[in-house]
């Protein structure tokens, strides 16, 4: 029976390799290398403008292990959550149906997907860690090669830890509530290690990331722990459950298609399904039915949707807000590229906040027949979302204020406008919807340019969200209330322009399509 499995896998691999367009693949790698390399070089130059002072260097080696260790602890926490939700492996729906139900040892079926998952997690994480190492080398003592290697190695271990912990959690059928409790306990412990001088569970991983300058034999324990977790995961992989594998098998193929189509909303929805994330059955707040204007109805509809936001999503939004606050602190302390991370975090926070608008766009058939302009409806759906951002802005500002008490007042003034700009990028992404291959805009585009346009479709909304983060950079370069006032006005302009675009977009698009149709022979 195992021969049959081997034969078929060999046949399918040969067929897949036969279908690969090698020239096309080489071209993609070439393009990715050029753009990726350029991005790293540009970012490195940005960091190089502020070399760390001796006190900053001392601070990095004193506080760095605990802070970087938090990344490892978060990987463990995410692994616990993923495993309790049925992750981290996803196999083809046909493999679930035909292999998992066949009388063969399931470890034989699942070992290969586990190895592939470990490999891809380690590789992806090592790229990120390597870039971090390159950036660190610009400001810290030690060679670029050593920093790159230590960053890549530590990150690869973190990637392995995530997959291994998730696999073990899944195989041991750890209930979600237990996994969450352990994850929270670990994060709290590591947080205490960050602010107090006590050892944290992730410190060894943090020390390993700093091997670019200082090597300690004790840090090799992190490698030992990781390898032990990987071996346990490999031993237990045959105990993964069929039901979540079947659910994930179907969702992941859709998810890959959505990613290919750069359909961000579908990706978000599918990821929620993967996590089994459902709207709350009983809302946090129940609004009574009431009469009133269309505007009031939209307001109530928005809050009704928000009131069903599951606790997990609220926690995720809090984490995004806190992360944005920390990224702002990093910018203030001289790590300029952190404003990109801040922009991305604000974009993701905005995507979560605009759920009422996204639902409306998902189910547009329900309201397309209303005697209301669609843009007007969309803008009014955002009012409650803007309200939802207030507590998260306060949270982000609080995180920044704790880390940098000198800028507390500025943080609380800037946080909300900056969060609104983050939401503006998310609004642009949601309203533009999934790419439409038949859209008139792309009708005249050559294929090379269509690829560029698709890339811009994803990047422009994130770039808009990042505009808000520039306010922190500006505050660092030119401290003072005048700069903060200018940033608030700038943020208001971005929000107003986005609202105007949402309101007018349908009209402009219709006019453009008419123009394109008229230009056709």
């Amino acid at each position: 029976m195992h021969d049959a499995l081997s034969d078929l896998r060999r046949t399918r691999r040969a067929r897949r390799l036969g279908d690969v367009e090698w020239f096309d693949l080489a071209y993609r790698v070439y393009i990715a290398a050029i753009f990726g390399g350029s991005a790293v070089i540009v970012l490195s130059d940005q960091v190089g403008d502020a070399e760390a002072t001796p006190s900053q260097i001392a601070s990095v080696f004193a506080d760095g292990p605990a802070l970087l260790g938090m990344v490892a602890v978060l990987a463990v926490a995410l692994g616990l959550r993923s495993g309790s939700d049925g992750g981290p492996l996803s196999i083809e729906a046909a493999d679930v149906r035909h292999l998992m139900l066949a009388p063969i040892v399931r470890r034989t079926v699942l070992s290969r997907p586990l190895v592939q998952r470990l490999r891809s997690a380690a590789f992806t994480a090592s790229i990120v860690g390597g870039i971090g190492g390159v950036l660190a080398a610009q400001r810290l003592p030690g060679s670029a090669a050593a920093w790159t290697a230590s960053g890549a190695s530590a990150a690869a271990l973190v990637g392995l830890v995530f997959v291994a912990v998730a696999t073990i959690t899944h195989a041991l059928h750890v209930p979600r509530v237990v996994a969450t409790a352990v994850a929270v306990a670990l994060v709290i412990w590591q947080s205490v290690a960050v602010v107090r001088d006590v050892p944290g569970p992730g410190d060894r991983f943090g020390h390993l990331a700093l091997w670019g300058y200082e090597q300690r034999a004790a840090d090799l324990g992190a490698i030992g722990v990781t390898l032990a977790l990987v071996v346990i995961a490999w031993r237990l992989v045959g105990r993964l459950r069929v039901e979540p594998l079947a659910r994930r098998g179907e969702l992941v193929s859709q998810l890959r298609f959505a990613v290919t189509m750069q359909d961000l909303r579908t990706v978000v929805l599918l990821r929620r399904q993967l996590r089994n994330e459902q709207p709350r059955r009983s809302p946090w707040l129940r609004l009574r039915p009431a009469a009133g204007s269309a505007r009031a109805a939209i307001w109530r509809r928005s809050w009704r949707g928000i009131a069903r936001t599951p606790a997990g999503r609220l926690a995720r939004m809090a984490a995004l807000a806190g992360g944005a606050g920390l990224a702002a602190v990093a910018v203030l302390r001289g790590t300029t590229p952190a404003f990109v991370a801040m922009g991305v975090l604000l974009f993701l926070l905005g995507l979560e906040a605009i759920e009422p608008l996204s639902q409306e766009i998902d189910q547009s058939g329900l309201t397309d027949g209303l005697p209301l302009a669609r843009g007007w409806l969309h803008v009014h759906l955002l009012v409650a979302s803007a309200g939802l951002l207030v507590p998260f802005s306060v949270l982000g500002a609080t995180v920044a204020a704790i880390a940098e008490p000198d800028v507390a007042a500025a943080a609380f003034v800037l946080a909300y406008p900056v969060a609104l700009v983050g939401m503006a990028g998310a609004v642009v992404s949601a309203v533009r919807d999934a790419p439409d291959p038949a859209a008139a805009e792309s009708a005249f585009m050559p294929p090379e340019f269509a690829g560029f346009a698709d890339g811009m479709r994803v990047l422009i909304p994130v770039a808009i969200s990042t505009l808000g983060a520039l306010a922190v950079w500006a505050a660092r370069e030119q401290p003072g209330w005048a700069t903060i006032a200018r940033s608030v006005v700038g943020a208001a302009l971005v929000v107003a322009t986005t609202s105007w675009w949402v309101t007018r977009r349908d009209r402009w698009r219709t006019a453009w399509r008419r123009f394109v149709a008229g230009a056709r022979p």
């Binding site: 035909h98 039901e243 079947a246």
Partner: protein, 235 residues
């Protein structure tokens, strides 16, 4: 004194989704060689029960066994064939390659003759080298039927086998059921097609996840059992 092991036995088998009860508790014993029809309205729990027996779903409570083996164990997987309501295929394998794969995975080394018989019986011989993932719904169902029958089994659980089939395909599937039953296999078939259940030894009707009838054909008005609207909490 010898005791016969039940082909299927469930004890308090229950499935809920986030607290919403989908099925159960179900206590069911199906002796070897019995042909059972599972009927009920939409949402009555037929598919849930079939998937629980096949090991595709995990029970929230209770247990189930196939020929004495706990559902999901290697013994149960060897004994039970599952013909699901939604056929699933590999995108890059033909019908014949699927048949080879499934048969060999289940220990049937000499699969070609059996595969040819099935393809001929169901009318897929001409399409045997086609990719089933590109087939119409009816042809996909025919291919799925071949996959279910190409492997050895003692028990077969089937969910809506006639969906998308033309009359010839439907007759061919019924003939395969008869042959398997004649050879001593146990069949549990969930269906809405009441005309096909008269050949059953036993009918089990579900409503709102509970067994509301368990007896022989002719002992109850089947249309009434199937057509009755589901009860709701507020009722």
């Amino acid at each position: 004194m010898s005791t016969t092991v039940a082909a299927i036995s469930t004890a308090g088998l229950t499935k809920d989704y986030s607290g919403a009860l989908a099925l159960g508790p179900i206590d069911l014993v199906v002796p070897p060689g019995q042909r059972v029809s599972l009927i009920g309205h939409n949402g009555s729990g037929k598919t849930t029960l079939i998937r629980l027996l096949a090991g595709m779903l995990e029970p929230s409570a209770g247990s189930a066994a196939v020929v004495g083996h706990p559902v999901g164990s290697i013994g149960a997987r060897a004994a039970l064939a599952h013909l699901a309501d939604q056929p699933v295929f590999y995108d890059d394998l033909s019908v014949r390659e699927h048949l080879e794969y499934i048969a060999r995975l289940h220990g049937r080394a000499e699969w070609e003759e059996r595969a040819a018989e099935l393809l001929d019986a169901i009318g897929l011989t001409e399409r045997a080298d086609g990719l089933p993932s590109t087939f119409s719904r009816g042809l996909r169902q025919k291919a799925a039927v071949c996959l279910a029958f190409v492997r050895p089994f003692e028990v077969m659980v089937v969910d809506e086998p006639f969906v998308g089939l033309d009359r010839a395909g439907r007759d061919a599937v019924l003939e395969l059921f008869r042959a398997a039953h004649g050879a001593g296999a146990t069949l549990v078939v969930a269906t809405h097609e009441l005309t096909t259940v008269v050949e059953s030894d036993r009918i089990v009707a579900l409503r709102d996840g509970a067994v509301v009838f368990d007896g022989r054909p002719g002992e109850a008005d089947l249309h009434e059992l199937v057509d009755t609207a589901p009860r709701h909490e507020s009722d």
